[in-house]
Symmetry: C2
Subunit: 428 residues, 2 copies
């Protein structure tokens, strides 16, 4: 079964919002063995939406539309789909009651305009919305299937999982299983060269991707069962591990924070961050992972020198002499947060994230990361060569997370290449 | 001039990455008065890319392609565009030197495969890449313009700004000026009803949007000059302000963090966050704003009760009696961070962000936010009614930022509805 995704909304064409729905749906459809060959976005415009529907159904049996189900007059998706299939619309009283109930539960009176959302194309299956007012629907006619979902991701995702996934399972002939090999510290080109002979594989296929300071290899197998797919992937994964194993931080993990949290959890270790330029991003990324409370109890954002000194105990003399962006201040910040938190690892990040203001020097993109277990110190200096604040903050946090991961991976042994913490600080 | 965006990359169709390029380009093109009527995404596939190009040029004079310029064999965009226009490819030596230099600067040897990136369609304009290895290009032929850009946003954006914007300015006949009125505390439907008569306006148009706990109105004018466009927008903005002014937190600001930081800066005020369930997100969002160091010196992520007690001075008895998710603990956290940081406002967030584990109760989505200036206390309890961790964390942080904003807006007066901080805590 082939599928096209159509996102509806002038706000997407104007660049007001990022289209995350297409990514989510594509990923989930791939899991179901349904290939998405095309994604498109059209505005809240009857003619163009009709044309997009027509084009999509010419090459695909399944079209999933998101957005344009709101209560305002420019929301047209359901109406246009009904028109395309030649179906009249009716007011579904059960849906209308549910919408009223949604407002009542919040102690609000339903605006009249929301009743428009209870209009349903005749003969379609209603998908109830437990997280908002707009119901979805599934229209099956003439060998074509249109799935209509609300635009807000927090409404779309649960509706897709609860109602659409069970519906679509019927149509998956084979399954597609992917395995993501995530690496840190090697570029996409260098990684690709090491595994070059695998990139021509047909099944499973192997494809390299680059993503904000990381590179990943995706192994994708097509098979009749999960077991068969796993059997195809296994030897290729083994070969890749032999070739680039030193750089792999995780297989089928979402990201470096998930890999780090899960390793810390497994070993019963805790971590605490003292953040300057990342401003809370390390703690935020660790606590993005559900259940992070086992591994993180505390973090400090120490943006000013005064707080570095007062809360973390960084030497005022060192701050003056070496500035806040220096290896010794990074070391003292790590020491300070380790002592304050009692965590197994204290980690610090300090640097110049940018952007480039007047008097900007080469220093933008210079970041120091320190990790300590209380005795040893591991220091890393980054020179990203970029002045993009968001990039520099993200990559700094990724590196800090990776440094912790390397320490945790060695535990209970000590990770190599450490220095003596006290000696390092005192020798300044 | 009409434009279609084509994103190239199987990784997008598989849902491996979110397509942020389309959002960025759409926004910037709208600023230039170039209408994007369609966005589409195709995989790294010669046939389908050719078909997409053909379809796009049937309705538009300008097509901007992103992605598929990498060094690996599945990167095809330049080759397929050259084929579409019937242009041969040649190796551009200046580009080849620049790619070599990029690796040398990083102390690396260029992998041979990267030389593929120096292949350029004959007669096209080369766009040099200062942030990566893949050059872009502009092909102009037969009244059609194809702009080819690299996929990684950190390479694409500067190339677009430096080379493509000046090129496109030639083609803008009129300008489109938009004005975003951002609100907090009112839903999209309720907002729309209050300004209903304006939603039918043609020029400027007024359109409502909902976004993660916020609603915004976009006023868009089309005119021959910026001055003319501003003249069209002004009276409509004035009317909107009269109708929903209480909810507006900013006009033409990016988000609540930017509005809050800019207000604090303007009034010379500082803030510090003590975060439990948001785990650093408040500090992170404030420090996303460049120049935030004027308003934030410090933040504490206090995930565990022990840290709430030890670092922030929250009463152990209250933690035991009322639990960490309670109004009194929120108040004591705000007091603690205010004292520790010396900031003008101490802010705390504590709650259940989810997800729903076993034994999950209604409490998921219950969040307490407290703000104090040292004397008064402002408390807010949220019941989001959702179990989505990401949503709950985001909306909690947004509310915390909005609470600070309201306090700062009133300053030097005291914001109304405050309680006495000490009395509130001691009366427990």
């Amino acid at each position: 079964m082939r599928c096209e995704l159509i996102s509806v909304g002038t706000e997407i064409l104007l660049g007001d919002i990022v289209n995350t729905n297409s990514q989510y749906l594509s990923k989930r459809l791939a899991d179901l063995g349904i290939g998405v060959l095309h994604q498109s976005t059209v505005g809240d415009n009857r003619q163009r939406l009709l044309r997009a529907l027509d084009g999509a159904f010419r090459e695909n049996e399944l079209v999933i539309l998101t957005g344009g189900l709101g209560p305002t007059p420019d929301d047209l998706t359901k109406e246009v789909c009904a028109e395309y299939f030649g179906l009249p619309m009716y007011t579904d009283t059960a849906v209308a009651e549910k919408i009223k109930g949604y407002f009542e539960k919040k102690g609000l009176v339903m605006p009249e305009s929301n009743l428009k959302q209870a209009l349903i194309p005749e003969g379609s299956t209603v998908l109830y919305n437990n997280n908002g007012t707009a119901p979805g629907s599934i229209i099956e006619k003439d060998g074509k299937i249109a799935v209509i979902l609300p635009g807000p991701p927090f409404e779309m995702k649960p509706m897709f999982e609860e109602s659409v996934v069970p519906f679509l399972r019927r149509f998956s002939e084979h399954i597609i299983l992917s395995c993501n090999v995530r690496t840190f510290g090697i570029g996409e080109s260098a990684m690709s060269e090491r595994v070059r002979h695998l990139l021509d594989n047909a099944n499973p296929s192997v494809a390299p991707y680059a993503k904000s300071g990381e590179a990943l290899l995706r192994i994708t197998a097509r098979a009749h069962s999960e077991k068969e797919a796993k059997g195809l992937i296994e030897p290729v994964l083994k070969e890749i591990t032999e070739l680039i194993g030193d750089y792999i931080y995780g297989v089928d993990v979402e990201n470096i924070e998930e890999a780090t949290v899960s390793l810390l959890k497994e070993k019963g270790l805790t971590v605490a961050f003292a953040e300057s330029c990342t401003g809370g991003l390390c703690s935020k990324r660790v606590t993005d992972v559900a259940g992070a409370s086992d591994v993180i109890h505390c973090g400090v954002v120490s943006y000013s020198n005064d707080i570095k000194n007062k809360v973390l105990g960084v030497s005022a003399e060192h701050l003056l002499k070496y500035t806040a962006v220096s290896d010794v201040v990074a070391a003292e910040m790590a020491k300070g947060i380790k002592e304050l938190s009692g965590a197994d690892f204290g980690v610090s990040v300090t640097g110049y994230a940018g952007p480039c203001f007047e008097g900007c020097t080469d220093e933008i993109g210079t970041i120091y990361i320190a990790v300590t277990d209380g005795e040893s110190l591991w220091l890393k200096k980054l020179s990203t060569g970029r002045t993009d604040r968001e990039y520099n903050r993200y990559v700094s946090a990724s590196n800090a997370l990776n440094e912790v991961r390397l320490c945790a991976a060695a535990y209970p042994e000590k990770r190599s290449e450490g220095m003596n913490l006290e000696f390092f600080i005192e020798s300044r």
